[in-house]
Symmetry: C2
DNA sequence: GTCTATACGAAGATAGAC
DNA sequence: GTCTATCTTCGTATAGAC
């Protein structure tokens, strides 16, 4: 289907990387699989046909569930992927800022390896598609803002100075996003591992002593 | 043409962001404009027709110049974009590691603003297209390795410890790549500016005293 | 080297039956 | 809600003339 899909239309579709609880209806499955495909191939290379094939959804009801077609599907998928990560950031068990960063890094590490380095960040992919799909990029923008606030707040809780937290959160998000892209390109977790190590050390140093 | 091109086929095509010296032949123009379009729309959303329109190249000789079609054009474009940045890294006038990082940041800052936040990194875009275009991603991998070596060597020259330089170079590349993506998504240079500030400080701290 | 014409397939979207 | 056409546009690639 899409020029960018390797074999997403193969009979045995594997479960999407972000699939937590089993989705109930076809509509929800479509959104989840759309997010998965966007993370792998990007917005432009993900066709509606790809999503249908991957989610085993009925062909005839796409425009019933998503009246605005592909754009709406992509928008909801990026939102879903954003919420997925936001939830993880919000429910981190770690007790220091350095640990929290390492935990998020570990999450991405697993997703990269589980997908054989095919799956990257659907939110970044959505943002990069701004020319063709401005509405999708707008959602990506919102998600990124939310993430930055979540990370920043967390850093403050762990003892990082208010003024520094915003700048550090921005670096953490940018560096992890970039590292995930490098890992996809190079098919190794090395870039991410190195980035997490540097970031963790930086967080430790940024915590004000008691 | 491409579903991802906003108006690259408009009559007055603007000069590509990476255009240094004027290109001689149509072939070279095609490669340069292909790199430009990949940076804006990604590999999948960049069609051969888009490149022809942007570079005012003759339609009839694409497969004469690029026998392997789109893949070859994308491969050469990513290589071109990689060499463009590599050259800049290699000819930095800065005298400290922190300054060098700030200079590279300034280069990206200009390209983002000059393109109204449309132009991002073609090399990262090439790497993210691995599923559809493995050969393009392979070149992106090579370029990324070259960049890392260049940055690392430069850090060592500026006084950063050998063991640390590799890790720091990786962070610098990942963070800048990620930040550029964030800037494209959010239509601001803020993410990049903040990242450069943090990175510069980190570089200063990493330089061993005389 | 460059042109036109054309084959072929994929993708988004709609209409109307069930 | 879901299905099956069907329309239209686009994109890659090739063939053959000039």
């Amino acid at each position: 289907m899409g020029s960018g899909s390797a074999d997403s239309s193969s009979p045995s579709a594997s479960a999407p990387v972000t699939a937590g609880a089993a989705a109930r209806g076809p509509r929800e499955r479509m959104v989840i699989h759309a997010a998965d495909l966007i993370g792998r191939d990007g917005v432009a290379a993900t066709s509606i046909g790809d999503v249908i094939a991957a989610s085993s959804a009925p062909r005839g009801s796409i425009y019933h569930h998503f009246p605005q077609g592909k754009t709406q599907l992509m928008v909801e998928a990026v939102r879903y992927a954003g919420d997925f990560i936001a939830t993880r950031i919000g429910s981190l068990h770690s007790h220091t800022a350095a640990e929290a960063v390492a935990d998020i890094g570990g999450l991405w590490r697993r997703m990269l390896i589980n997908s054989d380095y095919e799956y990257g960040c659907p939110v970044l992919a959505g943002g990069l598609a701004r020319r063709a799909e401005p509405e999708v990029a707008a959602v990506a923008d919102e998600v990124l803002t939310q993430w930055a606030e979540l990370v920043s707040a967390r850093l403050v809780v762990e003892g990082v100075d208010h003024g520094r937290a915003g700048s550090l959160a921005n670096l953490i998000i940018a560096a992890i996003e970039g590292a995930v892209g490098l890992c996809q390109t190079r098919r190794t977790v090395e870039p991410l591992d190195k980035v997490i190590a540097e970031l963790s050390a930086l967080c430790e140093a940024a915590v004000v002593g008691p």
